[in-house]
């Protein structure tokens, strides 16, 4: 259970560049729920994810993961509870390290790292087997540098890495946005398999309204740092992209075209 209470984030406070990115976001995410998040550019989607992972500092508000109050935890400490996949395929992995080394890092996310060898033989076999299930032929390239892989391959490995160690919540930040349509489709299917098989709690930011409704159990719409729409159950099942647009306009009392959201 993730409980976010009135999360408030301000960037560059007190300067002309002040940006009130989150204005009191309150949301409860029960165990095993997959939430999709949409909103236009600057709505605060990425900031919400950064607030959960600890990269963005809260001005006020409280964050509980399980029964633990993690509000004051730095990102590296929260990593024991939070796994994430970045939008940029290059950001989630180290290109100078090999595939095996990257995965060894993820295997011990949030754990202690002593002087024992980074990867034992049985662990290596497990990683090889997990890679084989991606169906990308990467199981034979464990000792290749990450930098040799394509963006799509790297994102697939990032996703797999995020699920290697136990977590309370998986954060996906438009993780298919930088990929070509075919690869994006592959990554989305992989996401679905990993989340459902592992019964993971996940928060996925997406730029596509269709995707937001088709995947997951619940959809949040953010606008100017607030949750303006929270759909689940039958209400969500009956929702269409057009309906979502109309609902959004009604909520905000202003006209908005599809493009503004799609491009966001």
């Amino acid at each position: 259970m993730i409980t976010a209470e009135a999360l408030d984030v301000v960037f560059n406070a007190g300067t002309p560049l002040e940006n009130h990115a989150l204005r009191g976001v309150t949301v409860d995410i029960p165990e095993g729920q997959w939430v999709t998040v949409i909103g236009s550019n600057g709505a605060g989607k990425s900031t919400l994810l950064n607030a959960l992972s600890g990269e963005a500092r809260l001005r006020s508000g409280r964050l509980l993961i399980g029964h633990e109050d993690v509000t004051r935890w730095p990102p590296h400490k929260r990593a024991s509870l939070v796994a994430r996949v970045f939008q940029d395929p290059l950001a989630g992995t180290c290109e100078r390290l090999t595939i095996a080394e990257n995965m060894a890092l993820a295997l011990r996310r949030g754990g202690l790292r002593g002087l024992r060898p980074a990867l034992s033989r049985p662990e290596r076999a497990t990683l090889r087997e997990r890679l084989a299930r991606l169906g990308l032929g990467l199981e034979n390239r464990l000792d290749d540098r990450m930098g040799l892989l394509s963006g799509g391959q790297r994102q697939a490995v990032s996703l797999l890495m995020a699920t290697l160690a136990p977590m309370r919540i998986l954060l996906l930040d438009e993780h298919t946005a930088a990929l070509d349509p075919r690869t994006a489709d592959l990554i989305l299917r992989l996401t679905q398999t990993l989340i459902r098989e592992g019964g993971l709690t996940a928060l996925m930011v997406t730029h596509s309204m269709r995707q937001a409704l088709a995947l997951g159990d619940r959809t949040l719409m953010l606008h100017e740092g607030r949750v303006v729409l929270d759909l689940m159950g039958s209400e969500r099942a009956g929702m269409t992209v057009e309906g979502l647009l109309a609902e959004f306009s009604r909520q905000r009392g202003e006209e908005l075209d599809d493009d503004a959201l799609l491009l966001g």
Binding site: S53, E55, P74, P75, H76, K77, A79, S80, A83, R84, F86, A91, G92, T93, C94, E95, R96, L97, E101, A104, L105, A106, R108, R109, G110, G111, R113, G114, L115, R116, P117, A118
Partner: protein, 308 residues
């Protein structure tokens, strides 16, 4: 070049190999441009020399020098991580401060160790090869030991965390690595190696001098770059080996340049030679690639793209 000059070059080359290894850890692994080296090298020499002249066993004195180096490295890292001072500037501040610290430790600009026992004293036994042969051999053992330890560390969980911290800090934090603490640890290790080199240098050269660290960072960096230019650095083992090889080659090149009468170079030309060597090492990989390209392109039309 005489045999003595050759062995001398190997000797200093191996010592600077340890400096290069330290510089490799900070510059390449942690991506932390660290000039502390210019202060931690004489710091190692100063601590070892003072303790030896006060009657400490040479091995214990050398160990304390290593600890002092680690502390110097942590100071630089803490200035950067905790006080958010730019890494390059943080290291310059420590380097400048160390000049005074080193003078305080020694109490005077130089200390002679010619009449004192050193870690190399035991090699002078009847029937054994001459000192000029023994010291490089002992140093080779020390360097191999340091190489093995550094590589074991880099292949460990903590070592991997350090490499990730340098390569992609955001990813490292997302994987639960406390990047600040890792930087402090890595910089301590790097400067510990440099101080070890300083302590060994003082003991093999017969004394410690306040100015022996001047340009140490350039020599270390030159060695790392030279090593990368002459051999593959695909794996960590190869990359660390390249540092040592680079340092030895660098000292040999310098000795060769200074010893050949035809060139007419003198000791004061050392820094010029260093600069030329670094420049050559920097452009060498580019030349290598263009030569390979030209060779593989034979038969293709001139000014045209090679046939697929």
């Amino acid at each position: 070049m005489s045999l003595v000059a050759f062995l001398g070059a190997i000797e200093t080359g191996l010592i600077y190999g340890l400096v290069a290894l330290g510089v490799f850890l900070s510059f390449r692994v942690l991506d932390f441009p660290d000039l502390t080296v210019d202060g931690s090298f004489p710091l190692g020499g100063a601590v070892a020399a003072v303790l030896i002249t006060h009657g400490w066993p040479p091995l214990a004195a050398t160990s304390m020098a290593v600890c002092a180096g680690a502390m110097a490295g942590s100071v630089t890292a803490l200035l950067n991580v905790r006080l958010r001072i730019l890494h390059l500037l943080a290291s310059i501040l420590t380097m400048i401060a160390l000049y005074s610290v080193n003078l305080r430790i020694m109490g005077r600009p130089n200390i002679s160790l010619l009449m004192d026992p050193t870690v190399f004293s035991w090699v002078e036994q009847p029937g054994w090869p001459a000192r000029a042969w023994m010291i490089p051999s002992v140093l080779l053992g020390v360097v191999i030991g340091a190489l093995v330890l550094v590589n074991l560390f880099l292949a460990s969980r903590a070592g991997l965390a350090m490499r990730a911290t340098g390569a992609n800090p955001r990813m490292a934090r997302a994987q639960g690595i406390a990047t600040g603490a890792v930087i402090v640890g890595g910089m301590a290790l790097s400067n510990a190696l440099v101080a070890l080199a300083g302590a060994l240098f003082a003991q093999s050269q017969g004394g410690s001098d306040i100015s022996m660290g001047v340009g140490c960072i350039v020599i270390g960096l030159a060695s790392v770059i030279l090593g990368e230019a002459v051999m593959s650095t695909r794996t960590m083992i190869l990359a660390t080996l390249a540092c040592i090889l680079g340092a030895v080659l660098y000292r040999l090149a310098v000795a060769l340049a200074l010893n050949s009468d035809a060139l007419g170079l003198q000791a004061q030309d050392l820094n010029l030679i260093t600069a030329v060597l670094v420049a050559v090492a920097l452009v060498l990989p580019g030349w290598k690639a263009s030569v390979v390209r030209r060779l593989t392109r034979r038969g293709a039309p001139a000014n045209g793209r090679p046939a697929p």
